[in-house]
């Protein structure tokens, strides 16, 4: 959310600056040319540490193309606020002023010089004069003025009531902001400086406010706790802390009248004030020498709780050791002793989780999860261990001892294990007498293809269809053969067809040889065989008379009957006058072919 707001603000600033520059450019373009000027100014020449000054960069008659960049000045923090612009139109003359505002704060007292700046405006380099800013050490109000009740507001720090601290000790300081009872309201409280030499400053938490009488005035006290960790020895200083806030005091015109009505109608006057504390010092000491063996740097006071589980395991199985340290101190710095030297255990890096019970992060619990794995069934217990810490209140080391914890370790794999799990290899894989690995092979051997297995390769699967197809083809062939064998008429039909086919060749041959006798003998036989097959009677029973009797009854077309009759007559004639020329024989053969082609349509 803050990031979004920051982005939005930054974007608004850029657009604002660009808009100002654009408007200024448009207006300047229409006016009579005049030289641009550039000046810098501070709203004050001196301030106290914790206060801020405003630095303005003013451009008249022009402006830089972007946000001016300021040099880095050690000790000063200069942050850009944004631009503002002003336009005037007097007697036809337009003038514009663009001012870039910066906030200047200091991190330490001193006299600072903001050097003269050189900025390019419309191709011309404009320069400014150096500025001097004096930052003074703030002074806390005197005790007399505080006790007299003359201070509207003041701040003070309360350090722990101790003579000394130890390195690594965590403690808490309290910043108190006192507001007199006539302060009607306050806001925008900001801690502007928090010098803490030798301390690591932690969280700041506001505690419940209370009211306290001081002298003859009543003050509202705003306590703020500051977590501190001592990080070095010697004399440590804390402060002066400075803070700024806006308070509302009764208006000068509303002091009189009835207090009841005044609380409703008095609007008051807002005033920004700076609060400054004194500088405090305290001594920090080294920890005493000869720390105990289990000391890992923990400072504070702690208690320890240990739990483990499971306690009935197989060798190699992990056991989780939970170590919980509760107390007050720098929990982040606490660590477990080194368990890696435990015999019979394999240890893993511990994980830790810290939970604080106070808002400052000074008290809480740190839980370690240490995984250990017993390596053999001879392990009977988790060894005893101790964790030591230094108690700064008692000024001595304390030791938290944890006795040994009994566990039961079974041989690896001795638990109920499914049949697929075993701690010994299959007997077929390892010769019992092998005492070391066998030496390397000296021959590379055949390089085997590493493609997909044959089982999933399409060509291989398709190949398996070949014997299946062969079997199917053979089966079909066998069925047809069997069918033919069981059907005499079909068999005769095929035999006659084959005979006619062969006989036609013979007829053409005999015709070309002018062998009339063989020609007609063959023709007569072919006619008998073909008609006998069609009429389902012996071939020898076929004569010219059968043609008239049987074929006429079957409604055979007359031209076929006539053709057959003619062929039979020619055969009969040839017995008496066998000599014919080759052309006549060829014509007869053609006639037979035509008739023969029509005969299969006849059905008895």
């Amino acid at each position: 959310m803050n990031l979004n707001m920051r982005g939005w603000t930054s974007g608004w600033r850029r657009w604002h600056a660009a808009g100002c520059a654009l408007v200024a450019g448009i207006l300047l373009a229409g006016q009579t040319a005049s030289a641009a000027t550039f000046t810098t100014s501070l709203d004050r020449e001196a301030m106290e540490l914790g206060e801020s000054a405003t630095l303005d960069l003013t451009f008249e008659g022009g402006g830089p193309s972007g946000t001016p960049t300021l040099p880095n000045i050690p000790g000063l923090n200069i942050s850009y606020v944004g631009p503002s612009s002003q336009f005037s139109f007097v007697n036809g003359q337009t003038s514009s002023t663009v001012t870039h505002h910066f906030t200047v704060t200091a991190s330490r007292p001193g006299v600072y010089t903001i050097p003269g700046l050189s900025i390019d405006v419309d191709g011309t380099t404009l320069s400014s004069q150096p500025l001097k800013l004096t930052v003074a050490q703030p002074q806390a109000p005197s005790a007399a003025s505080i006790n007299s009740g003359s201070q509207v507001a003041f701040a003070k720090v309360i350090l722990p009531n101790k003579d000394h601290l130890y390195v690594g000790e965590v403690t808490s300081a309290e910043l108190e902001i006192w507001l007199r009872d006539d302060v009607q309201n306050f806001g925008n409280l900001q801690l502007t400086a928090l010098p803490a030499d030798g301390f690591n400053v932690g969280k700041l938490t506001e505690r419940p406010r209370h009211r306290t009488q001081l002298g003859n005035r009543v003050y509202t006290v705003i306590p703020v706790s500051i977590a501190l960790t001592t990080i070095k020895t010697g004399t440590l200083t804390f402060g002066p802390l400075t803070a700024q806030m806006v308070i509302v005091l009764p208006g000068a015109n509303n002091q009189g009248g009835d207090p009841f009505f005044r609380q409703f109608f008095n609007q008051g006057e807002q005033k920004q004030i700076t609060l400054t504390t004194d500088t405090y010092s305290i001594t920090a000491l080294h920890l005493p020498g000869n720390p105990p063996a289990g000391f890992t740097g923990a400072v504070g006071h702690f208690s320890m709780q240990v739990s483990e589980g499971p306690t009935n395991v197989s060798a190699g199985d992990p056991i989780t050791l939970h170590v919980r340290l509760e107390g007050r101190g720098a929990l982040d710095a606490v660590s477990l002793p080194d368990f890696s030297n435990w015999n019979g255990f394999k240890t893993y890096p511990a994980t830790a989780k810290t939970e604080y019970t106070d808002p400052q992060g000074l008290e809480g619990a740190k839980t370690f999860e240490q995984i250990i794995a017993p390596q053999n069934p001879d392990v009977r217990e988790i060894p005893a261990f101790a964790l030591s810490y230094f108690d700064p209140d008692l000024n001595q080391y304390q030791t938290l001892a944890q006795p040994a914890l009994a566990i039961t370790v079974h041989p690896s794999g001795a638990a109920a294990v499914p049949s697929i799990a075993a701690t010994k290899p299959a007997t077929s894989e390892a010769p019992a007498a092998q005492s070391d690995i066998l030496p390397v092979k000296q021959e590379l051997g055949a390089l085997r293809p590493t493609g997909a297995p044959l089982l999933v390769q399409p060509f291989f699967l398709a190949l398996q269809g070949v014997p299946v197809l062969a079997l199917v083809a053979a089966f079909i062939w066998r069925r047809r053969a069997d069918s033919l064998a069981n059907n005499p008429r079909l068999r005769r039909q095929r035999a006659v067809a084959q005979l006619v086919q062969t006989g036609l060749g013979d007829l053409r041959k005999f015709a070309s040889e002018n062998n009339s006798e063989q020609f007609f003998a063959t023709l007569f036989r072919l006619l008998q065989e073909q008609l006998g097959e069609r009429l389902d009677c012996p071939a020898s029973a076929i004569t010219e008379s059968v043609v008239d009797e049987r074929l006429g009854a079957l409604s055979v077309p007359a031209d076929i009957i006539n053709g057959l009759r003619e062929l039979f007559q020619l055969c009969n004639q040839a017995r008496y006058a066998p000599v014919r020329d080759a052309q006549e024989l060829a014509a007869v053969a053609a006639k037979f072919e035509n008739v023969s082609r029509a005969l299969p349509a006849i059905k008895a």
Binding site: S412, E429, V440, T450, L463
Partner: protein, 253 residues
């Protein structure tokens, strides 16, 4: 004609490239063996790995390469990597007694629970998947061709009856073996833990609670995967998630 000529050229080129790749692998293999003999096991392991990669890029693999790589890793104390290499070798030559011997020896060094193939699975693993496929296909061809012959020559039916039945039995047995092999190959995946100090967690993320700690070389069955995490079991009922980088994956049980 042109097509046939082009095919011949391509075949020659493929043969030439293949022989070059084989020559490179053989050279790397010899160099790695030399390093191994000199006791430079780390260099030898790297050289074997390069040779394996080189052979793999040519679409080939060598059981001897994996075997020797396993030996180099074993000498380096990398038990899991050695077991993974031996298992890769066993996939290529499942009846190689040296491979099985070293695999068994390395497995004996592994502590803690681990998944091992059952004895019956060992029987089915005597053949490679391709060998099982060819045996089964051969039995199928013989059986079908005998049936075809019986159709063509019915007179031979009585004489071929015994042979046909034997071919059928061979096909059924081969098919059973092949079914088991294929199920193991395609439906099961094994992972070998290749580093020490590994913690299996209850979920596929680093902050999940620790469930168990498999040792280097432990063989685990892969149950599921999520991004770069694999859900595994050590065979004793413990299930956890391990990062992919600490495992070497192998097909089959």
């Amino acid at each position: 004609m042109n097509t046939r000529f082009l095919l011949m050229i391509l075949a020659l080129m493929a043969g030439t490239l293949g022989s070059h790749a084989g020559a490179d692998v053989a050279g790397d293999f010899a160099a790695a063996n030399k390093l191994y003999a000199e006791g430079k096991f780390a260099d030898a392991a790297n050289a074997y790995e390069r040779a394996i990669q080189s052979a793999g890029s040519a679409g080939t693999a060598s059981a001897a390469l994996y075997f020797n790589a396993g030996n180099a890793e074993f000498k380096l104390g990398h038990l899991g990597r050695a077991i993974a290499a031996y298992r890769h070798a066993a996939l290529l030559t499942p009846r190689d007694s040296e491979v099985l011997g070293n695999l068994g020896f390395a497995r004996n060094q592994v502590q803690g629970a681990t998944v091992r193939p059952a004895v019956w699975q060992g029987w089915f693993g005597v053949l490679t998947l391709n060998e099982g496929t060819l045996v089964t296909a051969g039995a199928l061809w013989v059986w079908l061709l005998l049936l075809t012959l019986r159709q063509l020559r019915p007179a031979l039916v009585s004489r071929l009856r015994g042979l046909t039945l034997a071919a059928l039995v061979a096909f059924v047995l081969g098919g059973t073996v092949l079914a088991v092999q294929a199920t193991s190959r395609f439906a099961t995946q094994t992972a070998v833990v290749i580093t020490g100090n590994v913690l299996a967690r209850s979920g596929p993320f680093d902050d999940a609670q620790t469930v168990f700690s498999p040792h280097d070389g432990a063989e685990l069955t892969v149950l599921d995967r999520h991004d770069d995490w694999l859900q595994v079991t050590d065979g004793s009922g413990k299930i956890g998630w391990l990062p992919r980088k600490v495992l070497d994956l192998l097909p089959g049980a």
